[in-house]
């Protein structure tokens, strides 16, 4: 996966609560056997009419946000299914960072596996960022992962928290499986113990 260090880009406001994974990428696009190519169908049913025409009022269809790389959203973002197609679609569209008051667990986890940084902030900070993001193409903000800091167009900055291990993985673009393979000895030992204690498993 691609590393995530510093990102400066347009932030799009999506101030809805409970944005679910069916909204992010509807089921008809889950039939793919690839990870790529889902960006054009990101938020499909909010973004296009039944006939496939763009709905001009939807934020990512507005000229200022067509190349947004950051999304500012409402609480419980990514709730619903485990489909990793949701972060794949966001990534394929070009979004590398999502900032919201809270995320659903599986989606949150899936982001890190794909080099997307999900940031949790209190609602008051989100409101400020939504205000920044509403300035169209001037809504450029910088997300600085090493320093855990977001800076807005007015120069103010917001600190954010992230689990240290996840931070290291994003900064280095580490492959989880490779990391786990280093613990091969511990896995072998666990399995040996398991054979004695719970042979039925």
């Amino acid at each position: 996966m691609d590393k995530f260090t510093r990102l400066t880009g347009v932030a799009a406001p999506l101030p809805m609560i409970n944005v679910d994974t069916d909204m992010i990428i509807p089921k008809q696009f889950l039939k793919t056997i690839q990870r790529t190519g889902l960006g054009k169908n990101l938020f499909d049913e909010m973004r296009y009419t039944q006939a496939g025409e763009e709905i001009p009022g939807f934020v990512l269809n507005k000229p200022a946000y067509r190349k947004a790389q950051i999304l500012i959203a409402g609480a419980n973002f990514g709730c619903g299914s485990s489909r990793e197609h949701a972060p794949w679609a966001l990534l394929d569209f070009g979004i590398r960072c999502i900032i919201a008051p809270s995320f659903a667990d599986i989606f949150y986890n899936n982001c890190f596996k794909n080099g997307i940084l999900p940031i949790v902030l209190p609602q008051a900070e989100i409101d400020k960022l939504l205000d920044d993001a509403s300035r169209g193409s001037n809504a450029v903000i910088t997300v600085d992962l090493p320093n855990q800091e977001i800076s807005g167009p007015d120069g103010g900055s917001i600190r954010f928290d992230i689990e240290p291990f996840r931070k290291q993985c994003l900064l280095n673009g580490w492959d989880d499986i490779g990391l786990t393979m280093r613990h091969g000895g511990a896995i072998d030992a666990f399995e040996e113990g398991r054979k004695l204690a719970q042979p039925w498993l």
Partner: protein, 467 residues
């Protein structure tokens, strides 16, 4: 020794590696795989030259894309056909057991796992599917994972994951007439909200939970994810052991005795500390339906569509207005006046034999309303076989329901079963999200008996009027 919660016990028994500054590594005993969330994981293995560490710990079955009509000619939709064929080819290449579409054991992964005895108390179970929480009904730590994690489990039989917090939901008392496990879990989600369980594993306890069959317990744990919790747990007991005993993959003979002795220790200790406690009175739960586009939007069937004007929070109010607009409902409308077009009885939430019996009990000797299209989709081939042995298929057919082949079907509408724009459905599934059952489709969640009653009435109806 410090008292432990059930979750802590299972977690500690599966901890492979833990170190400061690192996310823990836990062992995964069982892995279920379906066609939608696995192709990219197998492709990842191929690209890196990795092999599954223990192919026998994984079981594969296609469920999301399979047709529920006659299957003898295969799958008509080329994309769906390719996805299912890809699963079969991957299972063959990597030495994983695959239950083909024409196998009597085929069905929804979360119904197949328990039926086969693949799901066992005290084990860790994952699947690239959020409703993996279902298996928590056996006292197994079971949760949905993404495709990258599917690949990780295949390659290493472990997962990197942080420890969750503990939530205890106690439901005491006796369920009133007409109220089921589905109503309990809808009541819970209505109480704590769709994000109420985020970051937690929920343990369900209390006399009303212990009184439930395994089917009912699975319905409850299944919808833990709709309350934001990746996993739900119910301590195993005699009901659990009786269900598991004799299943094809369950331990046999001496191993069975040894396993049961170990499973009897799977409960939260007296004095174990939970981060959150929630209590519900079973006797106060009425039959429930949802009115909106989030599973937390529950209302008694005797109630009315709520009014956003009563919601003080602006963002929530906007959400309610959007939901009412999508659902085509006006505030104040009695729920029982809401006319429906379709009925879906099935899914990993309510596609088991007990669910079909409950629906058939309402359907028996009655007729589906003329304007309603109603379908019953058994959760697996074995559920279908059992239902047919009991004559339930005849009851449904005579009442005007369609009797289908097993699969996920219109719970998420990846196959041909879907709502048309504007159609309203009484559904026993788990999600009423916008577009979930088809673009523009309107979903009301409820129990199987309630869905059958709605089919007869042609509108949302109170199951108690039909019993």
């Amino acid at each position: 020794m410090q008292p432990k919660t059930l979750y802590d016990k299972i977690w500690d028994a599966h901890l492979v590696h833990e170190a400061p500054g690192e996310t823990p590594l836990i062992y995964i005993d069982r892995h279920l795989v379906h066609e939608v969330t696995s192709p990219q994981a197998f492709e990842g293995l191929r690209m890196t030259g990795r092999r599954p560490r223990h192919p026998q710990r994984t079981l594969a079955v296609a469920d999301h894309n399979v047709p529920t009509t006659d299957r003898s000619a295969g799958i008509a939709d080329p994309e769906s056909a390719l996805q299912v064929a890809t699963l079969e080819a991957n299972a063959r290449e990597f030495g994983i057991t695959y239950l083909p579409m024409d196998d009597i054991r085929q069905g929804i992964v979360h119904i197949v796992g328990p039926e086969q005895g693949f799901t066992l108390p005290g084990s860790t179970i994952v699947c690239g599917d959020s409703h993996t929480s279902t298996h928590g009904a056996f006292g197994a730590l079971a949760f949905g994972i993404g495709t990258s994690e599917v690949e990780h489990v295949l390659a290493t039989q472990t997962l990197i994951m942080p420890r969750s917090k503990n939530m205890l939901i106690t439901v005491e008392g006796t369920l009133p007439f007409g109220v089921t496990a589905k109503d309990i879990v809808l009541a819970i989600i209505g109480r704590i909200g769709t994000a109420g369980g985020t970051g937690h594993v929920i343990e369900y306890a209390g006399s009303a939970i212990r009184a439930l069959s395994m089917e009912g317990r699975m319905t409850i744990c299944n919808m833990s994810i709709e309350a934001g919790a990746r996993a739900g747990l119910i301590a195993p007991d005699e009901t659990t052991f009786a269900y598991v005993k004799g299943r094809p993959l369950a331990p046999k003979g001496g191993a069975w005795e040894q396993a049961v002795a170990s499973w009897r220790t799977l409960h939260s200790d007296a004095g174990a500390v939970f981060d959150h406690l929630v209590e519900l009175d079973a006797g106060a739960i009425p039959p429930l339906v949802t009115w909106g586009t989030s599973p937390e939007t529950v209302v008694p069937i005797s109630g009315r569509v709520p009014d956003p004007a009563d919601e003080p929070d602006a963002q929530r109010r906007a959400g309610m207005e959007r939901a009412l607009d999508y659902m085509g409902l006006r505030p104040g409308t009695p729920m029982q006046e809401v006319a429906i077009d379709r009925v879906f009885i099935g899914s990993c939430t309510n596609g088991r034999i007990e669910d079909l019996r409950a629906a058939a009990a309402i359907a028996k000797g009655r007729r589906v309303a003329a304007h309603v299209g109603a379908m019953v989709v058994p959760g697996s081939g074995l559920v279908k076989e059992q239902a047919e042995a009991e004559g339930l298929d005849r009851i449904f057919r005579e009442a005007g329901f369609e009797w289908r082949e097993p699969g996920c079907s219109m719970c998420l509408a990846m196959n041909a079963d879907k709502l048309n724009p504007g159609e309203r459905c009484a559904s026993t599934s788990n999600r009423n999200f916008e577009g979930r059952q088809g673009r523009g489709g309107r979903t009301h969640l409820m129990s199987p008996g309630m869905a059958a009653a709605a089919a007869i009435a042609g509108r949302l109806a109170d199951v108690r009027d039909y019993q």
